[in-house]
Symmetry: C3
Subunit: 162 residues, 3 copies
């Protein structure tokens, strides 16, 4: 018989942390996602194809928030791209384990992109988020975000972090 983790407070906080990350991106406040990761936290975007074969290549791999902030800054000032918005849909949040105030959490995501010019709507990413989250009575923060997307091919346009 399968048993599920059911601490209600932990579940609600975890859900809100994941939703908050998504909302900061969707509302074009991407800089602020770095505040939801511990300073030496890891943020990785990788294809399922590579992960399943133990291939090390990642599309994004930041080893701390400084790297993440740097990437976002380059998006703002260096990259040239057609204006577009993301809309995150999150589903299936499950806390798999808790040890020493560290939670192991999975969730499904799909990200729908709308181009500003012609209004074209397209799903550009689906995948599974594998998160490690630190929780105590004052604070809840990501210690690791490993976002594994289902497609082997990446969209030409991955400017904004997901």
């Amino acid at each position: 018989m399968h048993t599920f983790y059911t601490n209600e407070t932990d579940y609600r906080l975890v859900e809100q942390l994941i939703f908050e990350w998504a909302r900061r991106i969707d509302e074009n406040r991407v800089e602020e996602i770095a505040d939801l990761l511990v300073p030496n936290g890891r943020y990785t975007v990788q294809s399922r194809f590579n992960l399943d074969r133990n291939l090390p290549h990642c599309s994004i791999d930041c080893h701390n928030t400084a790297q993440l902030r740097d990437r976002i800054l380059s998006m703002r000032i260096a990259n040239i791209y057609e204006r577009h918005h993301y809309r995150h849909m999150i589903s299936g949040i499950q806390i798999l384990k808790k040890e020493n105030n560290l939670l192991e959490v999975v969730s499904n995501f799909s990200i729908i992109r709308t181009m500003e010019l012609d209004g074209q709507i397209q799903i550009i990413f689906t995948g599974q988020a594998r998160d490690e989250i630190s929780i105590d009575q004052q604070t809840i923060l990501f210690t690791k975000r490993h976002l594994v997307f289902d497609s082997r091919a990446i969209e030409t346009l991955l400017v904004i972090p997901i």
Copy 2:
């Protein structure tokens, strides 16, 4: 450090109210969404493009439930359109504030349309719902629904309210 609203009862009721609205539409009982809004409640559908530029135009703007019922009635008896179904996907429900039994709530939505004739499946809307919800021990109802969709262009076919 970011803190999250965590009243569990409020969260569950808010979520159920938002889901109930969606389900009444998806189950082709659109008339019944008006019962989830206070009589003088506001229901507005607007593009993000217009909202961001303070342009006043809205695709739908009902100032009370009578206007909303009227619009739905016209959909049933006056509009001619190809039969289709909506399917609402809701994600990222966050209670941002509570003051005097009024909750400020945001959520993400995507609406997928299936045409009855040829079965074509298409995302026609993604966006953010900005809701004001009145809650007390007996009742939970929308006082305002402001649905902001990401695309500047609207689909030819917005017959059914979203």
Copy 3:
């Protein structure tokens, strides 16, 4: 005035059961969904078009877990198809009724398929899950899963159960 079911423990367990079913499929552990259904449970996939007209045809109709396991086995060893992944998005979980430890539950689903070869991303199903779930202090399991998809036409490729 509409009232909502709000037993928090029941809600969280129901949600986790539905998410767990989806995750086992998405993680390519389809065999394990049968463990979430009671041995004489029913698993049915049917079009909304047929259901609305009381037409009996279903795309899949398993009367017990043995039939479901058999179907999955044939998927693994007999069917030839292009490799692909599913990603389930679940939304709008609502407990409508509880009687004698049986819950009547609805939810919305959309299933996004990614082809392994060319990375093509497509919504192949949207619809409503109508579940009957048995719950007691030790165990939560599906007794019936009735998955009603919105499109009349089924995708050529329904190999993996949804």
